[in-house]
């Protein structure tokens, strides 16, 4: 089977900036490709080029087997697009929004109505179908937007930061929807700045930074690529942090970093763990928590790009940069 998306050397320049500096991307049919990167890294521009909204200055892209520049119409026949902002008409009702898209796609009036009803039901919007979208909550609007992009049953769906600005509950709902679509055989290209989200949904991840794909692979491969495992320990008495850091450094041979009330170090050999325990015990440092784990995608991103994934600039990202928020998210996921 051919790849759903194959992009080579995409370059897009705007007045003063180079948004894309040669993007190479492959999405396998029927899989979820996560395009992961911080704000301004070129994610949205990539989607806009692939969805035929922008012409690339250089490079070429085949989407569903058709060239996005030479045959945009044939590309558009196969794709659905859900952007960063819910692109629904606020003055129209949910039903009217979906019927409009259906009619534009050539549905008869009756089929358009039936399709709108199906999608409203699928996205739990049936009760709100006759209300203007203006009265919807953020999560409902995003669901309507997603429904609108599915009217023509696209075989390829672009989701550009679908959960940005959503509360954790709505985010979980949307994740469920995406998994359902993949079950139906739809290929999904999902951009996100949430590392958690890519880890959750994507079969393959392309990490993008400064308009270039800097790494690709499965979530597991990327984590492995960041190298070693991570040893994390927290002493009961925060006064002993420095002592503990000294011991961990001595045993593992890599510099241990202190982050808050815990210590983190890369570990090449898992056998280091018992040694660390012994030495800490000898030194009389009581341990509240000690774990050996694979690096998180946050740490992977740091290792790949040399800078943290999320620039602390938007309120949207506060939830993931804040460790408490991340913990809460993890909990919600286990509950779900």
């Amino acid at each position: 089977m051919t790849d759903a998306i194959r992009a080579e050397g995409l370059v897009k320049r705007f007045k003063n900036t180079t948004a894309l500096a040669g993007v190479d991307l492959v999405a396998r049919s029927g899989a979820v490709l996560g395009v992961l990167g911080p704000n301004g890294s070129g994610k949205t521009t990539t989607v806009r080029v692939l969805a035929t909204l922008l012409r690339p200055d250089e490079g070429r892209a085949l989407v569903g087997g058709h060239d996005v520049v030479a045959e945009p119409h044939l590309v558009r026949r196969q794709i659905g697009l859900t952007g960063q902002y819910a692109a629904v008409d606020q003055d129209l009702t949910g039903t009217q929004n979906l019927m409009l898209i259906a009619r534009l796609l050539g549905f008869s009036r009756r089929d358009a109505r039936a399709r709108a009803a199906e999608l409203l039901e699928r996205f739990s919007l049936t009760d709100a179908g006759e209300r203007p979208a203006r009265t919807y909550s953020g999560g409902m609007r995003r669901r309507l937007d997603l429904a609108a992009s599915l009217v023509g049953r696209p075989s390829l769906l672009f989701l550009d930061e679908p959960t940005t600005g959503l509360d954790p509950h709505s985010r979980n709902e949307l994740w469920g929807v995406v998994r359902g679509l993949v079950g139906d055989g739809v290929t999904v290209l999902l951009t996100t700045q949430y590392l958690e989200e890519a880890d959750q949904l994507a079969d393959d991840i392309a990490v993008i930074d400064h308009g270039r794909v800097i790494s690709t692979g499965t979530p597991e491969e990327l984590k492995a690529r960041a190298g070693d495992q991570v040893l994390e320990m927290r002493p009961t008495d925060t006064g002993r942090l420095a002592d503990a850091a000294g011991i961990v450094t001595a045993v593992t041979g890599t510099t241990a970093h202190t982050a808050g009330d815990s210590i983190r170090a890369s570990v090449a050999d898992p056998a280091a763990l018992p040694a660390v325990v012994r030495r800490l015990d000898d030194a009389g440092v009581a341990v509240a928590e000690l774990t050996l784990r694979r690096p998180s995608l946050d740490e992977v991103f740091l290792a790949l790009t040399g800078h943290p994934a999320e620039p602390a600039d938007t309120t949207d990202t506060a939830a993931t940069t804040d460790p408490a928020g991340t913990r809460q998210e993890l909990q919600e996921r286990t509950n779900a």
């Binding site: 806009r48 902002y85 534009l104 796609l105 050539g106 009803a117 469920g176």
Partner: protein, 274 residues
């Protein structure tokens, strides 16, 4: 929420999407998007208010506040200003064309349309045709209010229809100017302010409310070259009787010139922006 299978009862047939857009389907897409533009009138209370309350307020205030002072009798002044107020209301409505285009782009609605296998020009055509319908509704509303306070133009139905055609022709030219600024400027607020700055001197500095001969020389000169004066004079001639040919000719010249300049600019901005 789980993504369950489609409801088994009567699933909608998904039509095959043609491999290319023909001119016929392009027109059809444009009409569907015109329908969407008009649906928004019903869904938006502000629009309903704009279409109903504004004409009542404008006609009522000008006729009954200034009527006696201007011409000694409000009825005489009513007949004098109704053609111009009709033009003014429509001209102000053209600002909305730019504002709504700008909003559609900012909200990503045009991106959605452009990612669909439909004619690329359809969203723009739909916006313009929808707004032309709004202008027509504006004309009808103003005239209804006018008739309700005793306006019985000598030109009769033919004169009124002619006058409506004149102002819609000019509005068609002007809406491309508005569309251009709506597509070229960044924010809807900017479009609104920029539009209003133009519209006030154009509509008030014309023959709509006062004959230019009664203005100071410089203002009178401005009013006499102002296209709104030509539109108003042509409408006045058709509704009330009087010279029509010259102001009508100027109205046509201005309308054609506006389209000639701003249609290409607007479509270029549309292609670049959307």
């Amino acid at each position: 929420m789980t993504a369950t299978a489609e409801r088994p009862a009567a699933p909608a047939a998904i039509p095959a999407i043609p491999h290319r857009v023909t001119p016929v389907t392009a027109v059809w897409h444009g009409m569907l998007l015109t329908w969407r533009s008009l649906l928004r009138i019903r869904g938006n209370p502000a629009e309903v208010l704009g279409l109903t309350f504004m004409p009542i307020m404008f006609v009522g205030l000008f006729v009954f506040v200034f009527g006696e002072a201007m011409m000694g009798d409000w009825r005489t002044y009513r007949d004098f200003i109704i053609p111009g107020i009709t033009a003014q209301s429509v001209i102000f409505a053209t600002i909305g064309t730019g504002v709504s285009l700008n909003t559609d782009i900012e909200k990503g609605i045009f991106d959605r349309f452009r990612s669909l296998p439909i004619a690329r020009s359809a969203p723009l055509i739909g916006a313009i045709l929808g707004d032309m319908t709004r202008y027509l509704l504006t004309v009808i509303m103003v005239l209804l209010v006018a008739v309700s306070i005793g306006f019985r133009p000598a030109g009769g139905l033919v004169g009124v229809l002619g006058a409506a055609a004149v102002v819609l022709l000019f509005a068609f030219g002007l809406c491309w100017l508005s569309a251009f600024f709506g597509l070229a400027l960044r924010s809807a607020t900017a479009v609104n302010i920029f539009g209003s700055i133009w519209m006030f001197p154009l509509t008030f500095g014309s023959s709509t409310f006062v004959e230019p001969e009664r203005m100071p020389t410089w203002m009178s000169v401005f009013a006499q070259v102002n296209p709104v004066t030509h539109v108003t004079d042509a409408m006045r001639g058709l509704m009330l009787g009087g010279p029509v040919a010259e102001p009508l000719l100027w109205t046509v010249v201005w309308s054609v010139a506006l389209v000639a300049v701003f249609f290409p600019l607007a479509t270029r901005a549309y292609r670049r922006r959307s």
